[in-house]
């Protein structure tokens, strides 16, 4: 089993990138690449990270980078965050820039 599985749903509006597993220094680039691919040409993007069982500062780096890239293109970005992801956002106190939700439907609706 891979440490991290990612999937991009292009048929939905907004587009959704789903990731499940562990995000650390060994899977960070895989995660970042999936997010970058999802962002390309998107009107709005949701990251469904409800299946992320572990994430560290390299994961938070990828999320902050995704937010920066999305903002530069004017693309709304919302995150459905698992407990470990939510915990990182709280510990870093970046709730102002990373818009996190407890479930996927709320994240999707929040994209407007």
């Amino acid at each position: 089993v891979e440490k991290l599985q990612t999937r991009i749903s292009r048929q939905t509006t907004p587009r959704v990138v789903t990731a499940a597993g562990e995000i650390d220094m060994t899977t960070q680039s895989l995660f970042a690449a999936a997010v970058a691919e999802g962002l390309t040409g998107a009107d709005a993007l949701v990251l469904d990270l409800l299946g992320v069982e572990f994430a560290d500062s390299t994961g938070l780096w990828a999320l902050l980078k995704a937010q920066r890239d999305a903002a530069a293109r004017g693309v709304p970005l919302r995150i459905a965050a698992s407990r470990p992801v939510m915990r990182l956002v709280e510990l870093a106190q970046v709730q102002r820039v990373l818009l996190v939700h407890h479930d996927r439907a709320t994240a999707i609706n929040a994209c407007g």
Binding site: E22, D24, M25, T26, S57, L60, R87, L88, Q93, V94
Partner: protein, 321 residues
């Protein structure tokens, strides 16, 4: 370092911190020392930020005449918890929350008896680091009262090494025992007198490392809700080993009646003493590893020197049954 970037811009001179040790004995001596300090604050048109015990709050409240509510702010002393690595960030938050146009005069009471000997050692080191952390801050005066009658033995002498100034009577004087250039940490990382498990790790072992730590910590009684926190801390340190310490490191894990300890060693050296005790601003992408470690662990002991490498002990308390 851009540790001052999250502070409000101010026209006030960035004169940095005046860090005063106030050594007294008994409650009347306490009042005799803090009241002149309050008067000095009033003269300086400062905001008073008070992290004092409940008893002292009651004692001093009648003596703050003429100071309005926004000029005297009580903050919850000790709210930063058990890990001394959260002491400096707490003060940064407390003073950043005050109006930028006034200097801050603050009182910093610490519950020395409430910490283990190892934590007291780290806390004294943080008191020393505070001088550097706030060297470029807007005018900030911090008075640290210590009752030599109730503090642990030798506390005043040891604390004098962390404080550039002392408060005697009603005036500040240079602290004669202050260790200006180099702070010598006491040795509080003795070998454990219990069974120690060891695991060498590299880039391919992070998942296995997390699994081992979780398994042992759960079995030894760490709160299940904190297991992911401990895995986070261990992963952050191991990632630093892999990136900056020859690509690998060694974990040793053991427990006492009170805590689970994870010790991670590698060949790297941590040059920035303030790493992990300054919250990275929201717009910064990286540099959060040691910050997370300090936020989640109950005690963090970092020993790092050129030629010796880095050894970091992370402690997580065992849940009281």
């Amino acid at each position: 370092m851009n540790e001052a970037s999250d502070e409000p811009q101010s026209s006030m001179a960035r004169t940095g911190v005046t860090h005063l040790l106030f050594d007294y004995e008994g409650e009347s001596a306490y009042l005799a020392g803090v009241l002149p300090y309050f008067r000095a604050a009033r003269t300086a048109r400062a905001t008073l930020v008070l992290a004092v015990s409940a008893a002292h709050r009651e004692q001093i409240s009648p003596h703050l005449p003429g100071q309005t509510a926004d000029e005297v702010v009580f903050v919850p002393a000790g709210a930063w918890g058990s890990n001394p690595g959260r002491f400096i960030p707490a003060w940064r938050d407390w003073i950043t929350a005050q109006p930028a146009h006034r200097p801050v005069f603050a009182v910093n009471e610490l519950d020395w008896s409430g910490h283990s000997a190892a934590a007291r050692c780290e806390l004294r080191y943080q008191e020393w680091l505070l001088n550097q952390a706030f060297a470029d801050a807007p005018a900030f005066s911090l008075l640290c009262p210590v009752d030599r009658g109730t503090a642990p033995a030798g506390a005043v002498q040891k604390l004098a090494r962390s404080h550039p100034h002392t408060w005697i009577g009603s005036a500040q004087q240079p602290g004669s025992a202050f260790q200006k250039e180099h702070y010598v940490l006491e040795d509080t990382t003795a070998e454990p007198d219990t069974e120690v498990e060891q695991m060498r790790y590299g880039v391919d072992d992070l998942s296995a490392l997390r699994a081992l730590v979780a398994q042992r910590a759960l079995a030894w009684g760490v709160d299940p809700a904190r297991i992911t926190d401990l895995q986070l801390a261990v992963t952050e340190i191991a990632t630093n080993s892999i990136r900056y310490g020859d690509g690998h490191g060694t974990l040793r894990i053991w427990h006492t009646d009170e805590e689970v300890v994870c010790e991670l060693s590698d060949a790297g050296v941590i040059a920035d003493r303030l790493a992990g005790i300054v919250r990275p601003p929201v717009e910064q992408l990286d540099g959060r590893g040691l910050w997370f470690v300090n936020q989640v662990c109950d005690l963090v002991q970092i020993r790092s020197a050129p030629g010796k490498g880095t050894r970091i002990r992370l402690s997580m308390s065992i849940r009281a049954l």
